[in-house]
């Protein structure tokens, strides 16, 4: 997909809409003053492995930027002893701290630079954004929650946010088959026993078991008690996938809200349906994908990282 189209898709999805420049940028920034020598910029770039140095005045306001190509030019002209001021780019393309994720991507797309300084309203430099920072922000945001429903399938086509491993094999498989709530939790209990034999720490096993249990309860309350619980436990991570055959979640955003539930009073009297299931799953998982829709099966995939503890 060309970048332009990707940016369009992001806008449509509202994905990463919570990320602004201030949450994407690195704040460990190295800057120089206009009167510093070009040689200093060269040393800084080499030592810090950076490809551009922002230049700021005494009040830390951005006044220019010196890139590797400018250093090379200066080197060729024998101007390393000159001040940065004489070789730096003055019309720097910068971002504002509150610029949206889309704006950041558009900047990378339009200007083809490797880095953009981020400034406050008063022009003070507060951070830098490189493509690596953008990638890190995306990854961090995937580690919170990703909800994929029909709208998103329309835009992203066959893009799958789910782990491919389950297509081949799973380390643990349990068929959920419940009438009412009586046997709910048996699969999670078995999963827990299985995970304990795999040498995972007590705490990550507890988190995985609690989330599997909530998902299993959801299958029993909302999906007629028919579904599957599978897990892959390898390389320091536990991936748990719970699937059912529908009727699906009509409004996932609402369902994720703590305290919201479509459960009946009878279910509430059984101690469930308080609208905390998905909230608990979100709280205890390191990565969560939910794929559902009205009259669709629901797939919940949760990842638990052993080294997060």
């Amino acid at each position: 997909m060309p970048l332009e189209q990707s940016v369009e898709a992001l806008r449509y999805l509202g994905l990463f809409s919570n990320l602004d420049a201030s949450s994407v940028m690195s704040t460990a920034v190295h800057a120089l003053h206009p009167e510093d020598r070009v040689a200093a910029a060269r040393i800084l770039m080499r030592e810090k492995s950076i490809s551009g140095v922002p230049i700021v005045d005494a009040d830390f306001r951005l006044v220019g930027l010196i890139s590797v190509s400018k250093i090379i030019e200066a080197l060729a002209d024998g101007r390393l002893a000159d001040s940065v001021d004489s070789v730096m780019t003055r019309d720097v393309i910068s971002l504002h701290a509150h610029d949206t994720f889309e704006t950041i991507l558009s900047c990378f797309q339009r200007f083809k630079f490797g880095r953009f300084p981020v400034v406050e309203e008063d022009g003070r430099l507060v951070g830098m954004i490189t493509d690596t920072d953008v990638l890190s922000a995306i990854i961090r945001s995937f580690y919170s929650v990703y909800v994929h429903d029909q709208r998103r399938t329309m835009t992203l086509g066959s893009f799958s946010a789910l782990s491919k491993e389950f297509e081949n094999s799973a380390d643990f498989v349990y068929g959920i088959s419940c009438t009412g709530l009586e046997n709910a939790g048996e699969g999670s209990a078995r999963l827990k026993a299985f995970l304990q034999t795999k040498g995972f720490g007590e705490s990550v096993v507890r988190r995985a078991s609690v989330c599997a249990y909530e998902a299993e309860i959801n299958v029993c309350i909302h999906a007629g008690g028919k579904g599957s619980l599978r897990a892959i436990a390898r390389n320091g991570e536990i991936i748990v996938r719970v699937e059912d055959e529908g009727p699906g979640i009509e409004n996932i955003d609402l369902a994720m809200k703590e305290g919201w539930s479509t459960a009946t009073d009878a279910i509430r009297e059984l101690g469930f349906g308080a609208g905390m299931g998905l909230a608990n799953i979100r709280r205890f998982s390191d990565h969560l994908v939910i794929i559902s829709g009205k009259d669709k099966p629901t797939k919940v995939e949760m990842i638990f990282l052993a080294d997060k503890e």
């Binding site: 305290g259 009073d265 509430r268 009297e269 101690g271 308080a274």
Partner: protein
């Protein structure tokens, strides 16, 4: 002990204040509405994590004097409005129902 005394001594946030001179006679901690209907005594302080609008209906039916919503939860505005109509006091506490019960019990509400 009155509603006023409970508010003072517990240090919980007041979501809505009903009749504060009302006497508080006992405590009840429960999240199952049918249990509260069946067993809670009139005049009780009711500690729960339920924030459903039915809580107000049940409290009014039983004659609960204060609902304490625990664990930092809050009610939607329609629930609070409903409570105001019933002259019911709702408090928000960051403590769990266990701790709220413990504190009130230690204060002498037995």
């Amino acid at each position: 002990m009155t509603v006023h005394d409970v508010i003072e001594s517990l240090g919980a946030d007041v979501a809505v204040e009903g009749d504060t001179t009302r006497l508080v006679t006992s405590g009840y901690a429960c999240d199952l509405l049918s249990e509260v209907i069946a067993k809670a005594a009139p005049g009780s302080v009711w500690a729960t994590i339920q924030t459903h609008v039915n809580v107000i209906a049940v409290a009014a039916m039983v004659g609960i004097s204060i609902v304490i919503v625990c664990e930092g939860r809050t009610c939607e505005s329609d629930v609070v409005e409903h409570a105001a109509k019933e002259h019911l006091t709702i408090l928000y506490s960051r403590d769990s129902a266990y701790t709220v019960s413990g504190k009130l019990y230690v204060l002498g509400l037995r």
